[in-house]
């Protein structure tokens, strides 16, 4: 994705790519039975050994990255993951680890960070809700207790890859404003219900909270005063999700170009027809542009250069729109074969469309961009 990859980054990407290709090729991705709990746990631990979950955690707290820009390192991995539609809560785990490292209590850091970095458990960010117009604190309300803890009520949806031992970072609404807490998925009062979803390469759940009591030490940030923290989380989730999408876009376009060279109609490869060739050229431009913008956003956010949140929203909005466009166009070039279950095209269509809507869709990030600019 980045034209300027260091040798260390290259080595990490190569070994990560080998791991994914061997452990979780598309044959596994498309088979939910193969991706059972034992598989995911083993996958997670191996990924952790490669450093996938340490990049947004400072060294002093047991993390570390390779280039000095953890967001960029994580985005490069995300790009590779996206190409092979990898499962597991990669974005969620990194966002939660980053948030806890930045604003968690010492107790919470001790409890959560080690296991996350080591891949013993995963974490998901419970942020989306069905009827909150994209506001991250929608769906769940919280009462602040006398000791500074929270009592949660309500539901979040489209929570990604929740496993029995997962940690959930819940963004919720208090009378003082948005607040956050880390809750174990097995806590009493938390109900995780698996949902049917467009994207079959991952799992999505509704998570209900019925009078879930949260200890003060598990509250992340000060209720009503988490705007900056939330902005950072959203930006990180946006960049990593967009990077996964760029990987998937790149992979799907390559598949489609190969098909356009192989498929013969009217006595010649269909890719020779300008009606097909021009669509593919436009999609190739879309991929180049997405790479340029996501790379720039990752650098900006990781270097903390004062424009990271804006750049992240730009990247998410741009990719959110062009990825769906690309998936649709590739489907059209494949024609009828793309409508069959056996073909991989639909896995990419499902993934790209889903990623475009997670952590804010294109329109939401465009509005956010206006607000960040003070308009």
């Amino acid at each position: 994705m980045d034209t300027d990859v260091t040798e260390d980054q290259r080595a990490l990407l190569d070994v990560s790519e080998r791991f994914m290709g061997q452990t979780c090729p598309l044959t596994v991705v498309r088979d939910p039975e193969a991706r059972n709990g034992a598989f995911l746990a083993s996958y997670r631990r191996q990924a952790a050994e490669l450093g996938w979950f340490s990049m947004l955690v400072p060294e002093a707290l047991g993390g570390g990255n390779i280039s000095g820009n953890g967001v960029l390192d994580a985005a490069l991995i995300a790009y590779k993951r996206g190409g092979l539609l990898q499962p597991g809560s990669y974005v969620g785990t990194n966002v939660v680890a980053c948030a806890v490292a930045a604003a968690g209590s010492d107790e919470l850091r001790r409890q959560v960070l080690g296991p996350l970095v080591a891949g013993e458990v995963s974490a998901s960010w419970a942020v989306a809700s069905a009827d909150a117009n994209g506001e991250p604190d929608g769906g769940v309300t919280a009462e602040v207790t006398a000791d500074g803890g929270l009592v949660l009520n309500g539901a979040k949806t489209a929570v990604q890859d929740v496993e029995p031992l997962s940690w959930l970072l819940v963004t919720c609404r208090t009378s003082a404003g948005p607040a956050q807490a880390v809750v174990a998925a097995e806590t009493a009062g938390v109900t995780v219900t698996e949902l049917d979803a467009l994207d079959i390469s991952r799992r999505f759940a509704e998570v209900r909270f019925d009078n879930v009591a949260v200890a003060p030490s598990a509250v992340v940030g000060i209720p009503g005063a988490i705007a900056d923290l939330l902005g950072q989380q959203l930006a990180l989730a946006a960049v990593l999700t967009a990077a996964e999408s760029v990987g998937a876009m790149d992979h799907e376009l390559n598949m489609t170009v190969e098909y356009a060279k192989d498929r013969i109609a009217f006595g010649r490869p269909i890719g020779s027809f300008q009606a097909v060739k021009h669509v593919l050229a436009d999609m190739s431009l879309a991929v180049e542009m997405a790479k340029a913008v996501v790379g720039a956003a990752a650098r900006s956010l990781g270097d903390d250069d004062g424009y990271g949140e804006e750049a992240a929203s730009i990247a998410k909005a741009l990719v959110g729109e062009s990825s769906i466009e690309l998936a649709q166009n590739c489907f059209q070039v494949f024609g009828g074969i793309g409508y069959t279950w056996e073909h991989d095209q639909h896995l990419y269509l499902r993934r790209l469309t889903t990623d475009a809507g997670l952590f804010g869709d294109a329109a939401w990030h465009r509005e956010r961009l206006c607000q960040l600019a003070g308009l």
């Binding site: 890719g271 020779s272 060739k277 021009h278 436009d282 340029a292 790379g295 804006e310 509005e367 308009l375």
Partner: protein, 419 residues
């Protein structure tokens, strides 16, 4: 002044010289481009004086070879210079400037003899020679290799006849780089030759063309038995297509890509001002349009850098890679212009007589498709990317292997059974 290539030293030296010698101008707009381009002979005369000052002090042609009056530095030095000079008046030759110092100057250095370069390059860098392209023809645009202007050898002279069009700034230029057919008995790409033609030579007539925006920077030319010499041949006789390939890379902006711009961080300032003016700053539809425009600007800037990086990594810059930048601009510029009309609403359709500011969205709208068509249409860029980057096969062609003197006749008799 040091001859070192150390970029920070260079920046300091440039900054000091600029501060001492150039006149500050009002803060540059977000694009870094002047509001009004040079368009009169008086503008050019002023630009020549300033260019001479730069040349005499060693600040012209930074990345041109030192033996021809340049400094032999890198594209990065050029960029640093532009960054430092952004808020000062620099020589403005208008559209003739980018053509002269970009596509033409670079192509001449790449393909001409040392004698030719010694005659022309220092003259270009000092502002004495402004150049233009006699390139497209009324009957040949995208199919550039299909041009019909002819050059016939007569002893030591070449006699050129034909007509040219879309020559940016030709009415301001001293010389033209002219493409002519020198062999009609071979297929189209193999019989082309480039010539240096003085625009005041006998038989050259230059006319300005009035454009849809009311300006007249484009010209058409009529060449009636124009005489040039063997010394005026650019590159080799009948091998003009190789020169064209070099030129295309620079035409597509590879040489200057993203260079004079800084990363756009301010939310589409023109559209924000427009939305406030028409009272739509709170309108969700206008806000979406403004954000789209800014994302568009940001994406073009970073794509430019990505493409420039990719081109720098290649031994011979590939015009097909440069095509990404050109296509991005050709696709995004019209969208950007339409967003202005969208935000402006009725106020962008009609405005107070003479109100330049009020008329700007409409002007931008009319100019929106320039980069989709000029210097290689979007469709040509898509072919270049599709065939030379993605490796997709070409459409069947009816003229690539046919002697050019048979092509027109065969085309007139073309029917769906041919091929």
């Amino acid at each position: 002044m040091s001859n070192g290539t150390d970029i920070e030293t260079f920046r300091q030296e440039a900054r000091a010289w600029i501060k001492a010698n150039l006149e500050p101008r009002p803060k540059a707009s977000a694009t870094g481009r002047p509001d009004r381009e040079a368009s009169t002979p008086e503008d050019i005369a002023r630009a020549r004086v300033l260019q001479r000052k730069l040349f005499d002090s060693g600040w012209a042609g930074l990345s041109y070879p030192a033996e021809y009056g340049g400094r032999g530095l890198t594209a990065l030095h050029e960029r640093v210079w532009r960054e430092e000079a952004l808020d000062y008046y620099t020589p403005d030759f208008g559209v003739a400037g980018s053509v002269t110092f970009g596509a033409i100057g670079r192509s001449l250095v790449a393909h001409c003899t040392p004698e030719f370069c010694r005659q022309h390059i220092p003259a270009i860098l000092s502002g004495d020679e402004v150049w233009c392209q006699f390139y497209s023809e009324p009957e040949a645009g995208s199919d550039l290799a299909g041009i019909r202007t002819r050059a016939v050898k007569d002893g030591e002279r070449w006699i050129i006849s034909g007509s040219k069009i879309w020559s940016s700034g030709a009415y301001l230029a001293d010389w033209a780089m002219c493409l002519a057919r020198t062999d009609w008995s071979v297929p189209k790409h193999r019989g082309l030759t480039w010539f240096a033609v003085p625009t005041n030579a006998k038989g050259v007539e230059v006319r300005q063309i009035r454009q849809i925006n009311g300006n007249a920077e484009f010209c058409e030319e009529f060449l009636d038995e124009v005489e040039v010499t063997e010394d005026d041949v650019i590159g080799e006789v009948n091998k003009g297509w190789a020169v064209t390939q070099t030129m295309l890379v620079y035409e597509r902006g590879a040489g200057e890509m993203g260079a004079s711009m800084v990363e756009p961080r301010e939310l589409a300032p023109d559209l924000v001002a427009l939305a406030r003016k028409v009272g739509r700053a709170e309108d969700p539809a206008a806000r979406q349009a403004i954000a789209k425009a800014h994302i568009n600007d940001y994406a073009q800037y970073h794509l430019g850098h990505r493409i420039a990086d990719r081109l720098r990594a290649q031994a011979t810059p590939d015009p097909a890679v440069a095509a990404y930048g050109k296509l991005a601009s050709g696709v995004l510029a019209p969208i950007r212009a339409r967003l202005g009309m969208e935000v402006g609403g009725p106020a962008a359709l009609a405005w107070a007589a003479g109100d330049e500011d009020g008329g700007r969205p409409a002007l931008n709208y009319l100019n929106g498709r320039v980069t989709s068509i000029a210097a290689g249409t979007n469709e040509m860029q898509r072919n270049g990317i599709g065939e030379r980057v993605l490796g997709l096969p070409r459409e069947p062609s009816f003229d690539t292997n046919k002697p050019f003197n048979e092509v027109l006749g065969a085309a007139r008799n073309w029917n769906s059974k041919v091929g």
